[in-house]
Amino acid sequence: METDELIINMGPVHPSTHGVLRFKLRMDGEIIKECTPVLGYLHRGTEKLGEMKTYLQFIPYTDRLDYISAMPNNYAFVKAVEELAGIEVPLRAEYIRVITMELNRVVNHLVSIGSLLMDLGAATMIMWGFRERENALQLYEMLCGARMTFNYIKPGGVREDIPEGFIPKLNEFIKDMEKRIEDYEQLINTNEIFMMRMKNIGVISAEDAINYGMTGPTLRGSGVNYDLRKVEPYSIYRDIDFKVCVRRECDSYARYMVRIDEMKECLYILRQVVDTMPEAKIVSNPKYGIAPMTGAPSAVMPYFPRIFTPPAGEVYSRIEAPKGELGFYVVSDGTTKPYRVKIRSPSFCNLTAIPGMVVGLKIPDLIAAFGTIDVVLGDVDR
């Protein structure tokens, strides 16, 4: 039976587009014939601002790219600058960075799973997710005073050493979290309706996923064993024991399960890092950071110069952010400001696959598939 086609606009203000994304849908009844994402409603010109600000001034802007997991963004940019300038980082600072980043991965996946479930109609999970997220944010507040946008990682180290009482609280959080993940699994994993909604929805094969440039949990849900922390170990990931969570089903359920597994893995990493943390309280490179201050509470107070000039050159450096491969292409011309900053954001590249994924499915499936891609619009539009 032939029916008239219906053009539906989802967004930019729509409850389930996670912000201001817009889908232009060509529908045949309830079935999607064509899906065109329209981006740019949150395009803030971050790359241009990168050319206008100094290296250190630009770090806060990286926080606001992927605002759910800001710490890896911080780190990705700082890593690029460090590679460019060849800065050594003290071991303790690397440990602190890994703690913050893995903690942020947990937070990111909590929000991701929560909002996925909320889009599917079960509002309870997001409440639970945010309850635990709040505990993690309190840890961040202890660390740097901010809840979401940290500006904590600096070239050559981190801004401050971890405060007293942080590690016990972190341990408490890990312990609590392990129990909570079991709760989530009880609530969701075996839910018949959830399975019906997620299995065989938004299928993307490994070849396609690679061809589209998808990365992160979305790629690992398609069965590609690829994690930059293992492939190109940066920071101290070389010394950490963890496994890459891979699922072979290629569907939304696989991507969801990868996230749940990764949270557990994160907690495992956190435990290790906390146990093996070096004692020496040096958290920034003396050449680029530390000015010894007498009479200060700790013997060395990190201090970062306002002006910072890496040598001319260009670098592309990438890390495994919670959403996938986050890269910064930084071109320096030897002045205090970068000549060009290009951000390779995971959300943008992962979103590329959506139009191909959802043809022939229905609007509820689009929401399920889109939810498991885990997109943050600040990261897409930049």
């Binding site: 930019p12 912000g19 010109g45 605002y67 929000v111 944010l137």
Partner: protein
């Protein structure tokens, strides 16, 4: 004499309880409303009907679900268990602006989004209120120099309460909500629509 004891009678004398309508208004610390009231000879006539309606309105502010950027995550944080704006009866986030009373402009308003935000505001039925959340929505914030960001949402729609912060802490949101409730409490029926002039 015990040094710890605080003489409570003195404190009372310092902070006099507001009696008249204008004093009550000044007590809320809402500058714009106070100024507007002074303009009208310091008289705000609130009939009983007005009071009932104002009470109803401030008690059930339903926000429209419209997150724009970073602050939207904090908006979710405010709505969730830890801070729980449901206590004020505000947890009913309506996806359709037709059923909402309050808009949180939560995040950066880009040039491309600006007409949509305005449209959304215009779709809401009167009486309606707007809270500009974060420095982006208030002035453009860190993106003030950007080519594609609107420098403050008050350029396109009227704003009742501004919250500073990037993003503001949930406590700041709660404070802003309380301020808005105070503001609504003192609104005359005509004041909102300019009939008192």
């Amino acid at each position: 004499m015990d040094p710890v004891t605080i003489d409570t009678t003195k404190i009372k004398s310092i902070k006099r309880k507001p009696v008249t309508a204008l004093e009550k208004l000044e007590d809320t610390g809402l500058i714009s409303t106070v100024l507007a009231a002074r303009e009208r000879e310091g008289l705000i006539l609130l009939s009983t009907i007005d009071q009932v309606f104002n009470w109803a309105r401030l008690s059930s502010l339903w926000p429209v679900t419209s997150g724009l950027a970073c602050c939207a995550i904090e908006m979710m944080g405010v709505a969730m268990a830890h801070h729980d704006i449901a206590r004020f009866g505000m947890e009913i986030f309506r996806a359709s602006p037709r059923q909402a009373d309050l808009m949180f402009v939560a995040g950066t308003v880009t040039k491309r989004m600006a007409p949509r935000v305005k449209q959304l505001y215009e779709m809401m039925p009167d009486p309606k209120w707007v809270i500009a959340v974060g420095s982006c929505a208030s002035t453009g914030g860190p993106y003030h120099e950007s080519y594609s960001v609107l420098k403050g949402v008050d350029l396109i729609i009227p704003v009742d309460v501004y919250i500073p912060g990037c993003p503001p802490r949930p406590e700041a949101w709660l404070y802003a909500i309380i301020q808005l409730r105070e503001k609504i409490k003192n609104e005359g029926y005509g004041a909102k629509w300019g009939l008192n002039k």
